[in-house]
Amino acid sequence: MKGSQAAPPAAAVRLLVACVAEHERDSVIGDLTEEFADRQDAGYRGNRAWFWRETFLFAGASLLYALARVAPASLWRMTMTSLTQSFRRLRHEWRFTASVVLILSVGIGPAAAMLSVVDKVLLRPLNYRDSDHLAMMRIDLGQLAGHPGLSPGEVIAIREANIFESIETETRLNEVSYDVSGRLTSLTILNVTSGMLPMLGVTPALGRNFTEAEIPNFGRSQPGQPPPPPPIQPVMLDYLAWQQHFGGDPSAIGRVITLNSGQFQIIGVLPDDFRLVTGRAVPRRVDVYGAIRLQRQLNAWQFPTLARLKKGSTFEDTQKRLDAFAAGMKKDHPDVYDGRLRYTVSPVLEDMTKATRPALRAAIVGVLLLLVIALANAAALVVARLKTRDLDFAIRSALGAGRSALLTEVMSEALLLGVGGALIGSVLAIACIGGIREVIPRTVPRWEQIGVSWNLVAYAVALAITGLVALGLIPVWRMSRGHAWNALRSGSAQGGKAEGTTSRLILVGAQVALTVALAFGSVQLARSAFELRRVNLGFDPNVATFRVPPDFRKFGNRKDLPLLYQRIRDRVRQVPGVTAVGIVTHLPLSGSTMMDGYTADLTKEVSFDQSANYQAVTPGYFDALHIPIIQGRDITDREDAENQNVIVVDETLAKTAFPGKQSVIGQTLKLGWGLPNAQIVGVVGHAKTIEVGRVVRPQIYAPIGNLFQSWAIVTVRSAGDPMQLKDQVVAAIDEVGPGRAVSNIAPLTDNVNAATSALVAVTGLVAFLAISAGLLSAVGLYLVIAHVVYQRRRATAIRVALGAPQLELMWRHTRTSALVMMAAVPIGIVMAVALAPMFAEITYGVGKRDTGSMILAVAVALTAGLLGTMLPVIRAGRMNIVSILRGD
C-alpha cells in the first residue's frame, strides 16, 4: 500500500500523545494517521505540513480545555489583578511600552499581510466540490509547451477513453450586446459544456443547471429551403450580473432575452461566490454563461479543459494513462500531430499558482525575517527593562513573593504588550494588504479575494506573545535561582560584566546588513518609478477610447466594415470639441496584441524568427494618438475603403528589416496573419504598446478591412478632457448604428497608469520594508549601546569625576557601534549585489549595480546606526555622576 510507505511525522504524533487524553488517543491519532495515508494515496502534496497543522490545533484545543477545567476562580482573580497592575505600570512607562508595541507591530503587520496573501492565493482550497481531485489539462504540441487549450475533438476522445470521472471544457470570453427595448448594454459571455457546473459541484442560487438535451444543434438549411429559425439557447447568469441587469428579480428565470440578436432563455443564476477558473489569465468578470456542444474537431486548440480524477486514482496514474492515450492519438491522426504531443494534468490550484509561487515564497522569507528581528528587538527591550528591575524583584523575593507571582507579572506584561503590538500590527497588515494587492498583477488567481486572514494574524500574534513571554522568563528564572541575591548583596542593580552583548551585536549587525540591502532595493525602485514618469511613450495617451463590436450580420462583408468605420469617424469628428478620431483594434498597453512573423526577403517563408506586433488601423489613428509620421504618409481613406495592400511600419521595423536604408517607402514586406504582401507607405515613431520601459517588438499597421477583427476601438482626442464628451461620442456612434453596444469607455491614460502602478506599489512596499529594517536596526543598536552604557556607568562616572574629556568618553561608547557597522555594511553591500538582478527585472532606467543607489543605501543604514548609537551616548553625558557614585 502506498500510504504505508510514509508515516506521519513522529514528533507530531508524540505531541498528540502528550496532549490528547488517553481514552481519545486511538480515535484522534488513528483518524489523523488514516487520513494522512488517504492523502498520500490520492497524491496530495504538503501532507506533513497538514499533519502538523492538525496536531497544533489539537494541542491548542487541549490546552484551552484543560485550562478552562482546572483553573480555579482564585487563579483567574490573580491573573486579572496582575493584568490590571501590569497595565498601570506599562501606562506609567509609556515610552518603553510605545517602543515595544511599535517594534512588534512593524514585525507583525507585514508578516500577517504576506502570510494572508499566501494563504488566499496558494494554500486555500478552491471553492469547488472536492477540489483536490480537480485537474487542469494542458497540451505540449510541437514547439508549443503547456498550452492551456485542447481541441473539442480531443476532449471527446479523452472522454471516450474513460480516463477521468468527467472532463469538461469552456470557450474563450466574448462580448455580447444585451438588448433591452432597443437600448444596448455590453455583457461578457463564456460558453461551457453542460457537465462543467455539476463536475465542479456548483448548485445554482436560483433555477437549474444546463442539460445536454437542451443545447441546440444549429441546423444547416437545405438547398432551396429558407434557413431554419435560430433556436432559443439556454443561459445562466452570474450573480452580480443578475443583480445589476435584472435587479435581482427571481422572475428573471425563464425570461427570454436578446443577446447579439440571438434569443436566449435564462435558466439559472449562479451563486454569489462562484468564479470559473481557466488555464488562461482571465481577470475579467463573466456576466453570462452559455452552453456548447462539442464537435469532433481536432485542430482547434482553444478550449481550456478541466477534469475530475476517477475515485482512487492519482495524478501520476492519470498522467501515465494520458501518455498512452497521446501515443494512440499520434498514431491515429498523423496528419494532425506531426510533432511532439503530450497531454499534461496537474491539480487546478497548482496550475493556477505556478507562476506566482516563487515570488510569494521569497516575499514570505523577507517578512518572516523582519518578524524575527522585530521579536528579537522587542524581547531585548523587555529583558533589558527587567534587568533594571533586578533590585525590585530581589526585594520582593526577599519579602516572600513566590516565583509564580513574578512569573505571572512577566507573562501579563508580555501579554499586554503582545496585544498592543497585535492591534497596531493588524492596522498595518490591512494597510500592507492594500499595497500588496496593487503590487500583485490582477492576473494572479483569486486576486479579488486577497484580504487579511485573521487566523494568520492570530498566529503571528501568538508567536509574538510566546516569544516575549519565553524570553522574558529567562531573567526571572535566573533571579529566582539566586541571581537576585547578588543584586541585593552588591548594593546596586549592576549585575557584573556585559552579558549577552556579543550575540546582540551579531543580531544588530544582521539588521544593519538587511537595511543596506533593502534600502538599495527601494532606492533603485524609487529612481525607476521616477524615470518611468519621464519616459517617452511614443504616443500621447490623453484620448478617450470606445470599444465598438459591429453586428456582422449587417457588416460581415470586407467592404462594408471600412465604410462603417469611416462613417463613425466622420460622425464623431462632427461632435463639438473633438479634434481627431482614429480607429484601432489593439490599444497600446492594453495587454492584448497580435503577434506574427514577417520578412523583407520575399523568397522566404514567414517565421517567428522575425516577428512584429500587427495592428489594424483606420486613417487618422496616428493623428489621434500623436504618433509622429517620420517618412511617407498615413493610409488614405481610399486605400482603407478598397482594402489596398499597403502598410505603415514603425521606425524599429524599418531599421531591422532594411538595415542601412535611408528610406523604406515603396519597399514590400511578406506578412503573417494571412495578409498578402504589402507595400510600405509610411514610417511612424515606435509606440510603447507592450511595456512602458522598453521596445518589445517592431510594429506593422494594416488597413482595418484587411486585418479582420470582431471589434474596433474608436480613439477620440479633444481640445479639453476627451472623457467629458463621452455621452456625445456614444450617441454619435449609435447614430451610425454598428448594431452592438459601445463598451469599455475609458481614457487611454488608464492603461498607462495600470502599466506603471505595479512598479509604484512595489517601490512603496520595498521602501516600507527598508524603513522598517532601518528602524529596527536603529532600535537594536540603541538597545545594545544603552545596555553597554548602563553597565559601564560607574566606570564612566569615575572617569568624569577624574576629569576625563567628554569627547573621549563618547568615543569609547561609539567605538562598539562603529565596529559593528564596519563589519555589517560590506555584508549588506554583498547582499544588495546578490539581490540586484531581482530588482533589475522590474526596474527601468537604472543600472543593475548603480553606485549612487548603493551610496544612498549605505548612508541610510549608517544614519539609522548613528541615531541608535548617539541617543544613549548623549544620555550618558547627562548622567548624574554623584548619584551613580553613591550607588543609587
Binding site: M1, G3, S4, A7, P8, V13, E24, R25, D26, S27, V28, I29, G30, D31, T33, E34, E35, A37, E54, L57, F58, G60, A61, S62, Y65, R129, Y239, L240, Q243, Q244, G248, P250, D272
Partner: protein, 111 residues
Amino acid sequence: MTHEPLGELEQMVLLAIVRLGRDSYGTPIVDELRRHTRRTILRPSVYLALKRLEAKGLIRSRMGEPEARRGGRARRHFEPTTAAMKTLRESQRTMNSLWSGVVLSTDKKKA
C-alpha cells in the same frame, strides 16, 4: 428524560452521525460537516462536540479493531441513542413549524 439544550455544532454533528449510519467515526463526520457547510470546521471542535454529546447521553461509542493503516489504532464508531433521535425529531418538528409560511425576501447585494 430532561432535554439538555443542543448547540448548533452538536446538532450538526448528531445529524452527520445519523446520515453516515454505521460508517460514522471521526474523519467521515468532519468530512460530512465540511461538505454541507460553508464555514471552516476545525477538527478539534468536532471531537469536543462528540465528547459533549456522549456526556449528554445522546451518542454512544464502540471501539473497532486496530488497523495497520491507522498506525495500529482502532476506530471509535459513534451511534445515536434513542434520546438523540427523540431530540432530533423534536428539533425538526419545531423548525418545520417555525419555517412554515415564512418566505424570505431575496438578499439584494449591491455591487
